[in-house]
């Protein structure tokens, strides 16, 4: 693989009416890395995912995947390039079976497999996420944690080069969180590059190689989990401005 990063976010800006959701966001994601994307609520993390996966088109800047400019491409074309994602609020295909859900990921992802091939791939992926026994059940009969695993399976069945995970751990209990973190590690071992948004901080800091921090749409810090957790700008973004607090207390 040549030296260029798998994904380049180049000065991406996105605005919704009067609200600047993203401003000049710029970072690289090398192949094989797990990159954590954090930031307080409303910082623009899911908006960034949506700009990458083609749901939104940024007004400025570029999204470059494997050297190809995919800025503003439609979601299905982005998927065909080798990108797959999960959603913050799960989006199962409810009236289809678990198997069919996963097959769809393989049929329409960048490998664009036939139904027969997709079935084989689905039957490999399902045990990996622990849904093999529920293969022929309708997706709507699963609970939330299972639906999250189904969504992950569907993304994996596409055999993506880059996987975007949006809050896969939300709503899971501590045991389920540990299991899912282990699954994420195994996915990376299979050669998939991962960009992960997460609020369950200890898990994210644990699993990420590097972390990028957004606040009010801007990138305020970048580095190893340790560096980021100790960065005063990041601490202030999460905890608030200590100087203002001092002023308030000083007035008492």
């Amino acid at each position: 693989m040549n030296g260029q990063p798998l994904l380049r976010i180049e000065k991406v800006s996105k605005r919704f009416g009067g609200l600047q959701a993203l401003l000049n966001v710029d970072f690289d994601l090398p192949q094989g890395q797990i990159l954590g994307l954090i930031g307080p609520n409303g910082a623009g993390k899911t908006t960034l995912f949506n700009c990458i996966s083609g749901v939104y088109a940024p007004e400025e800047g570029q999204v470059v995947f494997q050297g190809q400019d995919i800025t503003g491409w439609k979601p299905y074309h982005v998927a065909h390039q080798g990108l797959a994602r999960t959603h913050q609020i799960v989006q199962p295909l409810e009236e289809l079976t678990v198997l069919e859900n996963v097959m769809a990921g393989s049929c329409f992802g960048h490998e664009r497999r036939s139904l027969t091939e997709a079935k084989t791939i689905a039957d490999e992926v399902l045990p990996f996420v622990g849904l093999a026994e529920r293969r022929d059940e309708l997706a709507l009969s699963l609970n939330v944690a299972q639906k999250k695993r189904l969504e992950l399976a569907r993304a994996l069945a596409a055999r993506p080069l880059l996987l975007l995970l949006d809050e896969v751990l939300a709503g899971l209990n501590p045991t389920e969180i540990d299991e899912m973190v282990e699954v994420v590690r195994q996915i990376r071992e299979q050669g998939v590059t991962i960009l992960i948004i997460e609020h369950v901080m200890h898990a994210l800091m644990n699993v990420s190689d590097r972390v990028v921090v957004l606040d009010y749409g801007e990138l305020i810090a970048e580095g190893t989990p340790d560096q980021v957790a100790n960065d005063p700008k990041v601490i202030e973004a999460y905890l608030g401005d200590p100087k203002m607090a001092e002023r308030l207390m000083g007035e008492e």
Binding site: P40, V144, G171, I235, E251, E252
Partner: protein, 236 residues
Amino acid sequence: MALLEIENVSSGYGQVQILWDISLKLERGKLTALVGSNGVGKTTLLRTAVGLLKPWQGSVRFDGRDVTGISPHGKAAQGLVMVPEGRQLFPSMSVYENLEMGAFTRRAKANFQDNLEQVYEMLPRLKERGDQKAGTLSGGEQQMLAVARGLMAQPEILMIDELSLGLAPFLVLNLFQVLRQLKDSGLTMLLVEQNVQMALAVSDYAYVLSEGHVEIEGQAAEVRQMAQVREAYLGM
């Protein structure tokens, strides 16, 4: 005895559990802060306390009485008032009308004039803009109005969900100064807040929530010093 006691509450939405066996106390006349990163359950806890969400387990006791099953308007009648996240004002009504709406319960209606005068004294800007439509106020003024509306309900306990959310920094200081005034007047309050520094600077007691349970609790001054607070937010 604490004015409000939340005991061993577990709750959530549908199949997703958010709160895991949480206990919390509000002491009379004190400002208690509830902080923690997003998605951790702060708003869920508030909604459970006020009655918008039924807990799966546990109880809420107000002044010794079990109020777990009582509806939000029932609780408001007893003096348990919430200022919701995002203000949720009536934008086409005037400032005065919004304040009127706040005095909905019988108890509050009886003392309407007195309460109104007190509110206007604390927040003179609202008096100036009495006839202005709430939707045209600035963000900071809207937040002030939301708090004032809560005060018009003559609360025994005022619970505020996210005071500083979406507001410019200089307005934040202003609002917290108002909050401190309220605290000094002896009102019992629960503040759910994203801005930890400010919340800990203004409150007496603090709870730090992490992943649906209480990670840290203590006097605000002590909690401020703890490195664990940062860990609760940043995971390390």
